[in-house]
Amino acid sequence: MNGPNEGAAARKIAGKALLYLILVVFCVITIYPLVWMLYSSVKTNGEIMMNSFALPSALHPENYAKAWTTAKIGTYFANSLVVTVLAIGLTLVCGASAAFMLAKFKFRSRDFVLSLFIVGMLIPMQAILVPLFIQMKDLRLIDTLASLVLAYTAFGLPLTIFVLESFIRSLPDSILEAAVLDGASLPRLFMCIILPMSGPAVATVAILNFLTNWKEFSLALIFISTEAKKTLPLGLYNFIGAYSTDYAQLMAAMTIASLPLIVMYALFQDRIIDGMADGAVKN
């Protein structure tokens, strides 16, 4: 009756159930803070002070309207968007081309150049605030969004180049050789073979840069003075006053701030997973 196959099938189901259970538990631990932020954002400040974990007794969506207008979130949002998108674009263009060089081209200083890019990841931001500020001041870029775009690009390059380089390096040389034999020029190689084949990596790097730039705070604090040019993270700190914090509005503002990230990730998730069905497999 209970042959070995049925036993094996039962074990498989039990195994799967266990797996799902673990994954769900992980999920709860992972997602709870986001949920907490959400339901705190529709409570009143007093309610939050009294019991941080209770569900709201009544919903207060007006926190969002207040956060949006009182803190001029609209302006900050737009600035963050402009800076982030421009920086990502610049980073990807410069970074992908540099990564291609470092991955597939042969030159003596290759290792040195790669190490140089790693250096940029090893310093805490606080250490370079002053020299970087002086640099921007000398270039007359202080209090401009351009200063942020350039700085974010520069600081995004190490991670971008690093990740893309390791991906591109693992792409089979045979494909490139075949293309060259077919008479492809370098730009064509880059645009039609390397970039498409690195789809997942490019998408990953794009998301990571989006995250980092969107949340970046220290540089924005130091470079930007004009209200109208401030980015979102600066705006969020407006809610944390010296002697009291308006937690409810802060949560609402943070939810608004997190939305683009969530959207971006949802969009790019597909690209990462499915984007590469074509590339590496078809030799």
Binding site: F107, A257, M276
Partner: protein, 298 residues
């Protein structure tokens, strides 16, 4: 082939845009900041040259060494926590299973939250007076396990390590997922036909084929671990009594709290040197391993 891939002009052109931006906005300021390390400067008056005395003071400061070991702790926890976790989840979720998309989405969420929210939330959960963790333990009749999580020097660092892993494991899951995409399905299928079990497939095929991405992840872990600042600063400010002090926090305090700007710059130079040494050695170690198992052609 070589005419293209060794062509100096092409190489220079391809590298130029990145190099220029990087040189001007990253390397030059970094070098400049190292420069200050040799001066005694309060950030307000003129700097005074003091040679190596900042470095001597750093190396003899107990608090610095405490923060150094804390950083090492975080790096180790990150490398051996985030990467295996990310890898296993990536492998599991790489298949066609129900809810994979949802899981992949949720596991990435911690990365999206700003450090203010993460710090605030976890401090509240772990609060020994009103936090739900202790309340939960008591409800499960495990009240004896309830601790002053962030306020007790014995537990503060492990707890902080856990939260760091919590926030970043999604990152490595995503990177490794992307890497897994480049493994042709046929390889796994033919290995399965040859009788290879899950574990064998993982260790003999998958891992070697994405070794490049794993190495990159380790480097990122080390770099990130050495630089950690925001999250820990928000939650504990390096306390209690320096239990969770990190080198970046130490540097920040010296620079902005007690007006020792030159000293702070010296600390960042030390952070850099140590990080660099770690990364070089890790790449050497991993490079050796990879030259045997690196995949390539399909």
């Amino acid at each position: 082939m070589d005419s293209i891939f060794k062509n100096r002009k092409y190489i220079a052109l391809g590298l130029a845009p990145a190099m220029i931006i990087y040189l001007v906005f990253v390397l030059y300021p970094i070098v400049r900041s190292f420069f200050y390390g040799f001066y005694d400067w309060n950030g307000l008056s003129k700097p005074v040259y003091v040679g190596l005395s900042n470095f001597a003071a750093i190396l003899s400061d107990k608090v610095f060494w405490k923060s150094f070991w804390n950083n090492i702790y975080i790096v180790v926890v990150s490398v051996f926590g985030q990467i295996p976790l990310g890898l296993i989840l990536a492998v599991i979720l790489n298949r066609k299973m129900r809810g994979a998309m949802a899981f992949r989405f949720f596991f990435f969420m911690p990365m999206i939250l700003s450090t203010v929210v993460v710090g605030l939330l976890w401090s509240t959960i772990l609060n020994s007076q009103v936090g739900i963790l202790n309340a939960l333990l008591k409800a499960l009749a495990l009240g004896g396990l309830a601790q002053n999580w962030l306020g007790d020097p014995r537990f503060a660092m492990p707890v902080v390590g856990f939260i760091v892993v919590w926030q970043f494991f999604g990152l490595y899951m995503v990177i490794l997922l992307a890497a897994l995409q480049s493994i042709p399905k046929e390889i796994h299928e033919s290995a399965a036909l040859d009788g290879a079990g899950e574990l064998t497939k993982l260790t003999r095929i998958t891992v070697p084929m994405i070794w490049g991405a794993i190495t990159a992840s380790v480097v990122l872990c080390i770099a990130g671990g050495m630089r950690t600042f925001d999250l820990v600063f928000t939650m504990t400010q390096g306390g209690p009594a320096h239990a969770t002090e990190l080198m970046a926090i130490y540097m920040y305090n010296k620079t902005f709290d007690v007006y020792k700007y030159g000293y702070g710059s010296a600390v960042s130079l030390v952070i850099f040197a140590i990080s660099f040494a770690f990364i070089l050695s890790s790449r050497a170690l991993m490079g050796k391993a990879s030259s045997e198992g690196k995949g390539g052609e399909a």
